[in-house]
């Protein structure tokens, strides 16, 4: 629902209003985005969505801040060690932009609560670190007809895609089987790159600007300094989306 801008908001967002206009800014202000995970990907995604003026952000994370998080999870700092990530995340986001609404839930996302957690959101940022929960988010996004902005990282490598129901493959089309769990290596700049791509996708989706990563899996190789893409179609018989818009 578009919401009018105040003079302070016109000033604050003036440089991006030059890009997508007041109407685009109003769309950001009227939007509600869930960020599932307040870690490596969720940190940059949430920070850039907050400063862009997305009106309502909901962080979900069950964890507390540990020292090993601090090479990449830039929502949190040394003073936050031991605190709930949603608590320090909310504090950081409110400090960056007091004019938006930020909320958080310190819970583990499960089959039983995922629907309530997503609520009436306009989109979900997948900033998780495992596929079983990603698939729960993917299913709910498909049921609600809202986009899932996917990202994942390992070492210097990352991937991102945007799953919009009815407009391309869903996450289960792309990844029907999941890799084994591991303590994954990660250099903080990699989720920095991928989380920013996810935030870019959210902003594009909400403002209607540009071309989304639907049907394209973006693959970032930080070691080579190369971004490439794989074109992907819906998978016939996908248990989540059925590969519905296949010709």
């Amino acid at each position: 629902m578009p919401a009018g801008l105040t003079p302070a908001e016109r000033e604050r967002y003036g440089r991006q209003i030059l890009s997508f206009g007041e109407e685009g800014q109003e769309r950001l202000k009227g939007a509600h985005i869930v960020i599932a995970g307040a870690g490596g990907l969720g940190s940059p995604a949430a920070i850039y969505l907050a400063v862009a003026g997305v009106g309502r952000l909901a962080l979900i994370d069950h964890d507390t801040v540990e020292a090993t998080n601090l090479n990449r999870q830039i929502l949190h700092g040394d003073a936050d060690l031991g605190r709930a990530k949603v608590e320090s995340g909310i504090e950081t986001l409110r400090a960056l932009n007091p004019s938006i609404q930020v909320e958080g839930k310190r819970v583990t996302i499960t089959e039983g609560n995922v629907s309530d957690l997503v609520g009436e959101a306009d989109g979900i940022v997948d900033a998780m670190d495992n596929y079983p929960i990603r698939f729960l988010l993917n299913r709910v996004a498909h049921e609600r007809g809202i986009p899932l902005f996917h990202g994942a990282v390992r070492g210097f490598h990352g991937q991102a895609t945007t799953c919009v129901p009815g407009r391309g493959p869903c996450l289960a089309c792309l990844f029907p089987n999941v890799p084994p769990r591991e303590v994954f290596p990660v250099v903080g700049v990699t989720p920095g790159v991928i989380g920013c791509i996810q935030a870019t996708e959210v902003i594009k989706y909400l403002t209607g600007e540009g071309e989304l990563l639907t049907g394209r899996l973006l693959l970032w190789d930080g070691l080579a300094g190369r971004m490439e893409e794989i074109i992907a179609s819906p998978r016939s018989g996908c248990p989540v989306c059925g590969g519905g818009d296949r010709p």
């Binding site: 995970g37 870690g39 490596g40 990907l41 969720g42 900033a127 998780m128 670190d129 495992n130 596929y131 990202g151 994942a152 990282v153 390992r154 070492g155 490598h157 990352g158 991937q159 089309c173 792309l174 990844f175 089987n177 999941v178 890799p179 084994p180 769990r181 591991e182 994954f184 990660v186 989720p191 049907g215 693959l219 190789d221 070691l223 080579a224 190369r226 490439e228 794989i230 074109i231 992907a232 179609s233 998978r235």
Partner: protein, 92 residues
Amino acid sequence: MNLTIRFFAQFREKFGAMRELTVPEGARLMEVLHEIAARTPDGEAALFAPDGGLRDYVIVMQGPERVERDRAATLELRDGETIAVFPPVAGG
């Protein structure tokens, strides 16, 4: 015939980003991948399950189409095509 195999994510560190190969007509994907894996330390374990098939999470793309594991086992390659092979990354 000529074909290109592109690797992504951690497979790239093991197998390199791209292999441009000349193989006999009618060559199958699995033969080509087994040959590449055999010449790479721990290559077999990275790509293949103990039953000799591809690990179930390994993504094989033939153009824009994902090749299912069962079909990958018998996939015959065509001249000039590009195959992408990669594992999903999972971290967040």
